[in-house]
């Protein structure tokens, strides 16, 4: 993992410092004078050799210093801290949606293979895996907010709601800690549409994997033995089959987290959600590379960590896997 993160730093450095046509012009505008450009290049260390620039970059990264955002003129780390909780809350909701819908759908699909539920679930997961996230968000917003008024629209809270004192930055937890039921309810309702939008793709992928993993397992001898012993159907499925089917499913759950982070960029744009994704797009449009790279690195670190945790979970699920 250390090696991968080192590679992540090399790649992001390369993208931010070597590839761009001219970050200086982007920051100062086209009418900057020669001496302004020179002092800017000096201030940001852009006049140093590339190797030295990289070492300085890594040194700062390790200290949690992502540089100063060109657009907001604040330390990128501060910005990230401010926008991360909204994304965590949205991504967490979407992940929960994906697990709670995807795994049961996959199990039922396997049990009722080639019956009507299976066909519907498979068509559903096929469409879910091919769905442009931003378009789905737009359709849901159009129907359930603008037309039906069943659910609230863009943003994390109703305009009339007063945000709770920030402790974790997660509105559900902060409002619960503050004992503010009105804000909690508002935050929860605001999460429904973006959570479903972001979660659908992962739901589809997880359902599909659970189904095929369950099918692999359900026809094996030990399952027949368990049934022959007279164990109840549900017990065989849940205790005997599911445990083994979860191993390949878990890999997909980890990989789908990367899809959630990618999808968050689009979902947050559609729902005006003040998270990392929207921060990344607005920064990228104004060529604010410290900010874009900050988000990219944080996303890579989160994703890599999640997959490491999943690797460790294997050992708990599968006694044959042991890590030294």
């Amino acid at each position: 993992m250390g090696l991968v993160l080192l590679g992540v730093s090399v790649l992001t450095f390369f993208i931010a410092h070597v590839v761009p046509a001219d970050p200086v012009l982007a920051a100062l505008g086209e009418h900057a004078r020669e001496d302004q450009i020179r002092s800017y290049r000096h201030a940001y260390g852009l006049d140093r050799p590339v190797g030295v620039q990289y070492l300085i970059y890594v040194h700062r990264l390790l200290a949690g210093d992502f540089g100063i955002s060109i657009r907001t003129r604040r330390p990128v780390a501060e910005d990230l801290g401010e926008f991360l909780p909204a994304t965590v809350e949205l991504g967490g909701t979407a992940w929960l949606v994906a697990l709670l819908l995807g795994i049961p759908a996959g199990i039922l699909s396997a049990i009722y293979k080639d019956r009507i539920f299976d066909h519907l679930a498979r068509i559903g997961s096929l469409i879910g895996a091919s769905m442009p996230v931003f378009w789905l968000g737009l359709l849901l917003l159009g129907s359930f907010y603008y037309r039906l008024r069943w659910l609230p629209g863009p943003g994390r809270l109703d305009i009339s709601a007063i945000p709770p004192p920030p402790r974790t930055g997660l509105l559900l937890i902060d409002s619960a800690l503050a004992g503010d039921g009105v804000v909690f309810w508002s935050a929860l309702r605001h999460l429904v549409l973006p959570g479903l939008t972001l979660g659908l793709f992962s739901t589809a992928v997880i359902a599909r994997m659970t189904r095929s993993a369950m099918l692999e397992v359900l026809y094996q001898d030990y399952i027949r033995t368990a049934r022959a012993k007279g164990l109840a159907g549900a017990r065989v499925v849940l205790r005997h089959a599911l445990r083994n089917a979860m191993i390949p499913t878990l890999t997909i759950v980890g990989i789908s987290f990367g899809n959630l982070l990618s999808g968050a960029v689009l979902t947050e744009t559609v729902f005006a959600w003040p998270g990392l994704g929207r921060y990344a797009t607005t920064s990228a449009i104004s060529l604010d590379f410290p900010a874009v790279m900050g988000v990219t690195i944080v996303a890579a670190v989160i994703y890599t960590t999640i997959n490491l945790v999943i690797d460790l979970l294997y050992a708990r699920l599968d006694p044959r896997v042991r890590y030294e």
Partner: protein, 289 residues
């Protein structure tokens, strides 16, 4: 020599029967075929030029003259979708070619060379796998400068590692096979072995991946265009069309709805086709499918 040659694969008619037995795969093939036709014949099929503005009739609902209605600038949505198919399929093909060639070369080199070369190349792919794809693609596209060409490069850069892993795994299996030993014994060089013997036998999973990659590339490209890092207005690109029409979702629903539907169907088609080819090539998977 013939005794050592790999077993011949079953002929096509058998596979075509499989195709018929699985209606969803046939649907995928039909969708892909229709989109390809639309892309090729867009200038012939489109009832109106994609950029012409009929301002008096702007935002008109679908009618006989304008089958899918008109957008906010009075352009015929159906005609724009047809020309959009050209763009999206071209993006998909360019990405598949760049990512496929790059990934396959890296993967085959890693699997064939083994040892340190293999280790180093695979660590490079690990690094690319550490990023959520759209976020890395956006960073690359932003660094190169937002344009359709750069979006294609960015998407290829985030999708090639899958080909590398697949082709490496295939190569590792193949280099141990006897027919390669035989080829080497009659004096074939490394390059000849790789191109004439390893590549053809490693191709099946790569073809499957190419079909999925087409769908992925179309989806990522539309997403990048939606947030402003791909095609720009007035280009008739589907993601741009959804983005431009988003404010009309309640009042003139057809403006953003049809372009999104075009994306959904195209991606579904390629995913179905990928599933189908995989099942045809691997009968074992048909059961679990």
């Amino acid at each position: 020599m013939s005794k050592l040659a790999p077993p011949r694969r079953r002929r096509w008619p058998y596979r075509l029967r499989l195709l018929r037995r699985n209606p969803l795969v046939t649907l995928g093939a039909v969708i892909v075929l229709l989109y390809s036709l639309a892309a090729l014949a867009a200038p012939l099929l489109a009832p109106h030029p994609p950029l012409t503005q009929y301002l008096e009739e702007r935002l008109e609902p679908p009618s006989a003259q304008f089958p899918l209605g008109l957008d906010q600038l009075g352009r015929d949505i159906f005609s724009r979708l047809l020309f959009g198919a050209r763009l999206s399929l071209m993006i998909g093909l360019v990405v598949v070619v760049i990512a496929g060639v790059l990934g396959t070369v890296v993967g085959m080199a890693a699997g064939f060379a083994g040892g340190r070369v293999d280790h180093a190349l695979m660590r490079v792919t690990d690094i690319f796998f550490a990023f959520p794809s759209l976020i890395l693609a956006m960073a690359i596209a932003a660094a190169l400068g937002p344009s359709l060409t750069n979006a294609m490069i960015a998407i290829a850069m985030v999708t090639w590692p899958v080909y590398a892993r697949l082709s490496r795994a295939q190569t590792l299996v193949l280099v141990r096979r006897e027919f390669l030993e035989a080829a080497r014994a009659v004096g074939a060089g490394d390059l000849r072995i790789l191109t004439r013997h390893v590549l053809p036998n490693a191709l099946s999973p790569l073809v499957v991946q190419a079909s999925f990659n087409m769908g992925d590339a179309i989806l990522i490209a539309a997403g990048l265009s939606f947030i402003g890092f791909g095609a720009h207005p007035p280009t008739p690109e589907w993601g741009v069309m959804v983005s431009e029409g988003r404010d009309y979702i309640t009042t003139q629903w057809w403006v953003p709805t049809f372009p999104g539907l075009a994306i959904l169907m195209a991606v579904t088609g390629f995913n179905l086709l990928g599933d189908g080819i995989r099942d045809m090539l691997d009968p074992r998977l048909r059961r679990a499918g």
